[in-house]
Symmetry: none
Subunit: 409 residues, 2 copies
């Protein structure tokens, strides 16, 4: 199956927005076993858009378009597909009612221009988009398929995963590609690579090693004639990797650290509280990204200043003696969080996010404290000294520290 | 000048490498005032490469190609340009001597295949590349220009900055493009579009309307003969937009809401504290993304449960009477944050992040509370009912509410 991607939007050609959709879809098409031949980026111009779509439609079995589905005049993807196929656009009454209900639920007026987001042509079916007002289009004619998806990556990726990819998989037969990603923390890409290479050849399943935002990802891809065969290949490789990297592997595939610790807390009937200095609320935010987190997450303090830390229960003398950025203060903060919220476990972060040094400590140094009935503990971490990166990595590291602790509970 | 970018490399179509060269060159072309019409990504395949290059050469005044200049068999850019222009490739003796000297300096043997990196056609001049073994090609014929640059971003960017851009600037005279983005909150893309369309024609400056993560962005692009003229055009349009959308516009260009409120707080010598329920720490995290936020951000409470809210100073009777998700509770939370941290302003969020309803209130409903010496206030918001989206939008909305409040301080 020859595939082609078209990214639509003047902003992409002005270099203001990096086109992440194309590379996302490119890697997804590789998994489907499709041959991606072209990616084209084109601006919000009717003539050029129709030309690019027309060429793609002629030469490719599958055309994936992103962008241009908004309500404004410069959103032309629907119109261009209609013109390219010489079909008329008509507003679909069910889609229009849907759209009106969506605006009503948000208590916002619907502009008249929004109604074109409810339009279809006879070769097009609407693809649901619960994250936005623009449904996608699944266009099928003469054995070819074109799919139009919204430009915002969160909307596009959900539509791809839930709607488009399953339909495409159903069209492809006799070829199975199976993926399995193991997620690690506490070792580098190179270390993971060296360990994996001890198993010799990684032809099929292949192994890709990537730095993810939550540690190192080991991605196995098996290609086989059947699902069973692929699953067996993956399972064999997974056992080998887990034997070598057991202490580092914390999850797989869609697992997140915050959901993983949430599950462990819920299973053990334990509650958690946080006190954050350098992460400034990010740790609490990640914990509460998980639906149902209110059952185990009691709450948190964001205590940026020394005064706030002391007011919330940290002994001033500890800070004076060891500094706010120290393992002693991290442990005391964790304990104070525990006490303050009456939780079973307290988790704390203190560090130098930068750009300035604190207490003669350089940006990138941080301590994670943990306190529970087993006692108190702390871990020192050093991270690339860029403010947002320090915050992110410290929060992830704290979740990993919590996970390790929960395993012995 | 119509321009076109061609990114060459099979790895780009496998989604393994994100094509950052294209967006870099796109933003550079915008500054040069060139009209970038197409970006095409194509794999290392001779037929497709010649076809894509040929189409670009025909329809564009300037073609910028990156990648495919390496020494191996799958590096085909030179060969494809030669075939497209029907010219013969010949190894240039001075380039070959250069290349040999380069390998000698690195104390590495030169493979025979490297010699093709010293080849030219009669329409091509070599462009120096001190960072790698592949010189670029500057191809000029019939008033058109094609430039082939290496794929590694460091090599490409140096070649662009030092060699290619200066030559292009010399060819372009009397053409300036200026960009200005106004950032709004509290109105939809469609509403912004309807308001802007009341000014009639938006030819030059043109106006693009986009949904950003922090509200709606209005981007003006002026094309003129001089910087002064372009600046004047932008200024005139900006005044018109600001007159109509004054209460919605909170910033421009690289501004962020968290930095904007930080600046206002610092200017007024005011301090801030937060109490977050549905945002779970995200609001504190955004505030502390700004370097120097410790001077005005006293700290925050993450109070997910009713018990935590009460323990931190919210009157239980208020919650019992009106619910945790109510304007009354939001105001009391803001006040409790103020008191708890001894801050001038308290900012609070409470809402239903979902997926489950709370107190018979549907996901997507939230209240933002604010409390300061002027009194207490609250704002109701309804957001698309996806958990992370609710959190993000409530946090952004809270920052906007804070900004509006700070303007009257």
């Amino acid at each position: 199956m020859n595939a082609e991607i078209i990214s639509i939007g003047t902003e992409l050609l002005l270099g203001e927005v990096n086109d992440t959709n194309a590379s996302y879809l490119a890697s997804q098409l590789a998994l489907l076993g499709a041959n991606l031949r072209w990616i084209t980026v084109v601006d919000d111009n009717m003539d050029r858009l129709v030309e690019v779509l027309g060429r793609a439609w002629k030469r490719s079995d599958l055309v994936l378009a992103t962008g241009g589905l908004g309500p404004t005049q410069d959103d032309l993807t629907r119109e261009a597909i209609a013109q390219m196929l010489n079909e008329d656009m008509k507003v679909s009454e069910p889609l229009l009612q849907n759209l009106k209900a969506m605006f009503a639920a948000m208590d916002r007026p619907m502009a008249a221009t929004n109604s074109k987001q409810a339009a279809l042509i006879s070769s097009a079916q609407a693809i649901p988009n619960p994250r936005g007002t623009a449904p996608g289009w699944w266009v099928e004619r003469d054995g070819r398929v074109a799919v139009a998806m919204p430009g915002p990556p969160a909307e596009m990726q959900r539509m791809w995963q839930r709607e488009v990819m399953p339909r495409l998989q159903a069209r492809i037969q006799g070829r199975v590609v199976m993926l399995r990603t193991l997620k690690c923390f506490g070792l580098s890409e190179a270390e993971a690579g060296e360990t994996a290479s001890q198993f010799g050849d990684w032809g099929n399943p292949s192994l890709g090693i990537y730095a993810g935002s939550d540690g190192v990802h080991l991605r196995m891809i098996a290609r086989a004639a059947s699902c069973d065969e692929a699953a067996e290949m993956i399972a064999g490789s997974e056992v080998r990797l887990r034997n070598m990297l057991a202490t580092h592997i914390w999850g797989a595939d869609d697992d997140t650290l915050e959901a993983t610790v949430g599950k462990l807390l819920a299973e053990r009937g334990l509650t958690l509280a946080t006190m954050e200095s350098c992460t400034g609320g990010l740790l609490g935010s990640m914990l509460t990204d998980v639906p149902g987190s209110s059952t185990y997450y009691r709450g948190g303090f964001v205590a940026y200043s020394d005064e706030a830390k002391v007011a919330l229960g940290v002994d001033l003398r500890l800070i004076e003696q060891h500094g706010a950025v120290s393992s002693q203060t991290a442990r005391a903060m964790a304990d104070a969080a525990c006490q303050g919220f009456g939780a079973d476990i307290g988790l704390a972060t203190t560090g130098v996010a930068g750009p300035d040094s604190v207490e003669d400590k350089l940006p990138g140094l941080a301590y994670i404290g943990i306190s529970d009935r087993l006692g108190q503990n702390s871990v020192e971490g050093r991270y690339p000294p860029a403010r947002l990166e320090v915050k992110r990595r410290v929060a992830i590291h704290a979740l990993f520290v919590l996970r390790q602790r929960l395993l012995v509970h």
